[in-house]
């Protein structure tokens, strides 16, 4: 055996080789992405028309969209409330408990069902997380799926794909030595410094989305299923106020729903709902344009989040 340390490393790591099933799976996903890209390429040829239409939409939007100052005012109140909140402590032997419910839209290759074309499915999922330090227990329940085409639905069950998708099942997993690079970063709690830090972090991203949209997604992620603490939560809310967001709704108790719209082929609108203390309690993703499988204005993903609570058991807490 060679004494070159790099040869020794190669030997220690072995040679992970993909099986035929691995190759087929990855190839099928790439083919699905290529189909989507082909749609985009066709659309690019219609760019001049699209630009004219977009300008018209922009003009109309300026007329109807809520002024940004209302967004800033609404988020300013939330940021102030978030900053003065009491930090949540997790005593030894207790867990941070989070319960989420969501539904997402998946596009799958046709060969699973013996179909020529891709097909779409929506599976509602309930996810419960218990977290303590580097330990995490996750319980996931897969509920009855929804389809856009009754023929696809029939084929889905005929091929027993519901068994593969764990429909009707609850699966519990426990993880130890959990690390989270994103939340391990010591993010600044000054809103302007935080914005610069988010921009810097995103420099390594390969996303083609506009920077403002990437910042929105990253800031949302820092609020999602985490407890960033009062100062960072407040700063994140103030970062949202710097983004080109529109105010969709504001309830009397101060809960706000904000939207950001961007072109991701198709055009997409994401919304987040923040409670008066800056907790993320809901988000949605809507396709504003039709694709070959999904009609225009379809909500392709929706999630509601419970406020994290402290519990001292790994069982489902009683819901208030």
């Amino acid at each position: 055996m060679s004494k070159d340390p790099f040869d020794i490393l190669r030997a220690l790591a072995g040679d992970p080789t993909p099986t035929e099933a691995d190759v087929s799976h990855t190839w099928a996903r790439l083919q699905a992405a290529i189909v989507k890209e082909q749609t985009r390429t066709s659309r690019r040829r219609l760019l001049p028309v699209a630009v004219a239409a977009a300008m018209l939409v922009a003009v109309v939007s300026v007329l109807v969209v809520t002024r940004p100052t209302r967004v800033e005012a609404a988020l300013g109140e939330i940021a102030a409330a978030a900053r003065t909140a009491t930090p949540q402590e997790i005593p030894d032997g207790s867990f941070l408990y989070i319960r989420n419910e969501g539904t997402g839209t998946g596009i799958r290759p046709g060969d699973e069902l013996g179909l020529a074309d891709h097909w779409a499915i929506q599976i509602p999922i309930v996810r419960q997380v218990w977290r303590q330090g580097n330990f995490e227990q996750v319980t996931t329940t897969y509920r009855t799926p929804m389809f856009f085409d009754p023929n696809v639905e029939a084929a889905y069950y005929a091929h027993d794909l519901d068994l593969n998708d764990h429909i009707g099942q609850t699966i519990t997993q426990q993880f130890t030595s959990i690390t989270n690079e994103l939340t391990d970063i010591n993010w600044p709690t000054d809103p302007d410094q935080l914005r610069r830090a988010l921009d810097n972090y995103l420099q390594q991203s390969h996303s083609e989305l506009p920077l403002n949209v990437q910042v929105f997604k990253l800031a949302t992620e820092l609020l999602r299923e985490t407890d960033p603490g009062p100062a960072l939560r407040s700063a994140l809310v103030q970062v949202f106020a710097q983004l080109p967001m529109t105010l969709v709704d504001r309830t009397p108790d101060g809960t706000v729903t904000l939207a950001i719209t961007y072109d991701n082929q198709p055009r997409v609108r994401d919304t987040i709902t923040l409670n008066p203390h800056g907790y993320l309690i809901a988000e949605t993703e809507t396709y504003l344009q039709a694709t070959s499988l999904i009609p225009a204005d379809t909500i392709v993903s929706t999630i509601t989040y419970s406020i994290p609570t402290i519990t001292n058991t790994l069982n489902t807490p009683q819901r208030p």
């Binding site: 790099f6 490393l9 790591a13 993909p18 990855t26 790439l30 290529i34 390429t41 998946g106």
Partner: protein, 196 residues
């Protein structure tokens, strides 16, 4: 385009801008290396999905590919390294879980139990060895040893000088030689230091 095409990766990617199906050739050329690189980073069970994500993301961002680089391997492994890091960061939030619905197909996980037992010691030693290196050194070692990239390709992927790649590899080789022959010798190293 056929698998035996003489076109460079850059030319294939350029062709795929107008005809996305051409991108399949990039997959055929580099899937094995990308899969191996990803599997070493996230483990075999998750390698399939992360590898698929690498090619999906590469397809979406192919307009940003620098045509001055004939081979796309470094570019793909750069994306792979980013997604491996993200995998460890995210694991599976609700959002990720929903996004993964499109891949909730048959989860056939090969039975590695026969080889796992004999590889446990080796994997621990591998992890310990890599843990002795500073982060910048680990990056170049991973791309050189597991990604099979040249010095120049690593420099392009990480945006650093080729000389820096050489010096980091040289330093890493020295540390690993000490550790792999006598782990105690390297116990005082500072694995997270950032000075060059």
């Amino acid at each position: 385009m056929t698998p035996g095409s003489e076109l460079t990766d850059a030319e294939v990617i350029a062709a795929s801008l107008e005809h996305p199906a051409e991108f399949g050739e990039v997959f055929r050329r580099h899937h094995g290396v990308v899969f191996g690189f990803v599997a070493r980073g996230v483990g075999y069970q998750d390698a399939r999905d992360v590898t698929a994500e690498v090619f999906e993301q590469a397809l979406r961002s192919r307009r940003s590919y620098n045509p001055a680089y004939p081979s796309a391997r470094g570019w793909l492994l750069g994306i792979a390294a980013h997604l491996v890091a993200r995998h460890h960061r995210h694991r599976s939030t609700q959002r990720e879980l929903l996004a993964k619905q499109q891949t909730l197909t048959e989860e056939v996980v090969a039975d590695f139990s026969d080889t796992l037992a004999t590889r446990l010691d080796a994997n621990k030693k591998l992890g310990d060895a890599m843990g002795r290196l500073r982060k910048p050194e680990r990056e170049v070692v991973a791309l050189f040893v597991f990604g099979q990239l040249s010095y120049r390709e690593i420099a392009e992927t990480l945006g650093i000088a080729e000389g820096t790649v050489r010096s980091r590899l040289s330093r890493a080789r020295g540390k690993l030689r000490n550790f792999l022959t006598d782990p105690e010798q390297s116990s005082s190293e500072d694995p997270e230091g950032t000075h060059e």
